[in-house]
Structures are given as C-alpha cells and as structure tokens.
Symmetry: C2
Subunit: 199 residues, 2 copies
Amino acid sequence: MSKYPLALQQLIASLKMLPGVGSKTAERFAFHLLTRPSESLEELSEVIATLKIKIQNCPECHCLMDKEVCEFCDINKRDSSLLCIISSPKDAYAIEETHTFRGLYHVLGSLLSPLDGRTAERLNLPQLVDRISHLKIKEVIVALDSTLEGDATALYLKEQLGKLGIPVSRLALGLPMGSPLEYVDVGTLTRALLGRQIF
Amino acid sequence: MSKYPLALQQLIASLKMLPGVGSKTAERFAFHLLTRPSESLEELSEVIATLKIKIQNCPECHCLMDKEVCEFCDINKRDSSLLCIISSPKDAYAIEETHTFRGLYHVLGSLLSPLDGRTAERLNLPQLVDRISHLKIKEVIVALDSTLEGDATALYLKEQLGKLGIPVSRLALGLPMGSPLEYVDVGTLTRALLGRQIF
C-alpha cells in the first residue's frame, strides 16, 4: 500500500538506467511526467522507441548517422589524410564545434580498463589499421579523455600505430582556458610545464 | 553538420522537460540511451506511453490509483474521521511510510502563489468542504511544505476550515532528525523554540 502504483514503479525502474539518476531523482522525474499532457508523453515515448531505428552507427568510422551515407566519412568534404581517434560518437560533435579539424574520425567505442574487463580486443585494432592503410592516412590524432584509461589507451595506440611509420599525435595537455594559475591542480600544471610551447 | 542527428535533437528537447535537466544533462541522457539495448528502450517507451492510461487520479481524494477503486479512500481500512491535506499525490506515499497516519487524504494539487497566478480558486475549496462534512471528519491535518507558499496556504486553510468548527492541526515545525544545532538555520531554530514541547 505504501508503494507506488505498478506502472509508476516500472517507470522509476526504467529511468534509473540514466547516468547519475538514483531512486530519488527517478521518482522526481516520474511524478513530473505524470503532470505532463498526454501529447508530450506520446512524443517522448515515440522518439525513444524509434531512436535506434533512425540513428545507426557508420560501419566505417562508427560515428552516428541518420542518412544513407555518413557525413563524417564524405571524402569530398573532408581531408582524408588525417584521422582522429575518439572514444565515443559524442566526441566527434565536440571536435566539430572547434572548426579546426576537417579530417576523418574513428570511434574506438571503449577505453582500456583491464580491471573492468575492457581489454585491447575491445578496441578492434585490426579494423583501425586496415582503415589507416586503406585511406592512406598521413597523420593520426589521438583525441582521448585525459584520464587514467584515456592515457593508457593513448599509449597503447601510440605503440601499435607507431609500427605503421606514420606520425601519431595527441591532444595538447595543459591549462584549460580562463583558469587562474592558483586553482590549477598540480598534475595539470606539471603537464603544462613539460609541454611548454615556444611563442 | 556539427549538430546531432534529428532524432537525437528531438530526444534531447523532450528530455529537457524533466525537472532540473538542462541541455548538457539531456545530451548525456540521450547518448546513454543510444548505448542501451533496443528492448530496454522499447520498455521505457511503452511505460511512458501508457502511464496516463494506467494511472488515474482518484476523483474523491485526487491521489494516484491504478485500480477501479482508490486504496487511500477505502473506508474499511482507513480511519475516516481524520483528513490529511497534502499538495501533491507524491506526499501521500511519504506520509504512508511513517506508519503513523491511517486517515484519509485530500490532494490540493496546488499551493497559493498569487504572483504565479495560483490563487485560491485553484485550491477548489468547495469540494474540500463538501468532503469534510460528507465524511464527518473530526480533525483536519494540514501537511504542506514548510515554504512561503506552503505557509500561506496553511494559514488560508486554517481561516476557511476554522469556520466549520473542527480542529485544524499542522505538521510540527522544528529540528530535523540528526541535525547538530550549530548547522540549523535561524528560521528553523526560531520555530523549534516557539513550538517547544513539554517532555
């Protein structure tokens, strides 16, 4: 009796799969949805149900695509000598927003984390090596998270791709924009010093 | 090009209706949903689509119900001489969890907030007064938020229901459980002092 109606319990359980959403937040979301007009619930329901049908992963670069061809793989519009390795499709949009990269992408889909069972096999390196030689890539840019897993994966990629004899670069590590020096952590400052640039 | 596929944009827009969810969180939720198996998306979609069909508001007390009859209105199981006034259906579940109230509920659905256009008409007082006399209620407990709007509504209810000649009580205002005195705000401490109890 003291617990919610069944349909509400099911909704709360489903909402808890969202990242960072626990019981309390899921309950708040669910009760809020109850107050919304039916049309807006139908709209949300429809868009969730058709999400995976409308959006696919490009078989080549694994970025998202909602058309027949992948816009990120369009050789006519992109510089096919540069390849940027990212861990998730979302990162491509962040890099596009910088307007400083017009090359191709390659989504790894995972970062190395042996303790969580994410080993090198998950990175599907043979396909990446195939793409690099097939596309005649001249430089590989590793654009992974600046975290333990990102660093480990970047080092592994450098080791493996180094054998191909093409330059493998990495995103610069240093001060983020607009940060006063006194608030920068020692790790970032160390990297910024080691990677100092002549200007 | 730098923006997400259309279906993803629609999902992000829909998710932004959730309370406390802005663009960044909605994007995070949407990209997370993309990584979920189709079955779990279908389940979520289904439960959202059927939510308003499966769960109704009781025409009597306005609590939620998913059966033909409202469990909160079951006179055989509840003490029909006590009526607890709450602002939203969710509050009934919180009060049920205390296991200290077995009376009936009445959901106002709104709190007074004239600046936001929520005036006394929204409270539907005639229906409340009807219920009180029809059910022969002996005590009304006002269990509203301890906020400006909750206080104003409680005072208004006391004034209106006082005319009926039955006791109108209110939830005690004081220290929350487990709070060291030094961290209690001055408003709470004032109320706790004024409402001190002989023991």
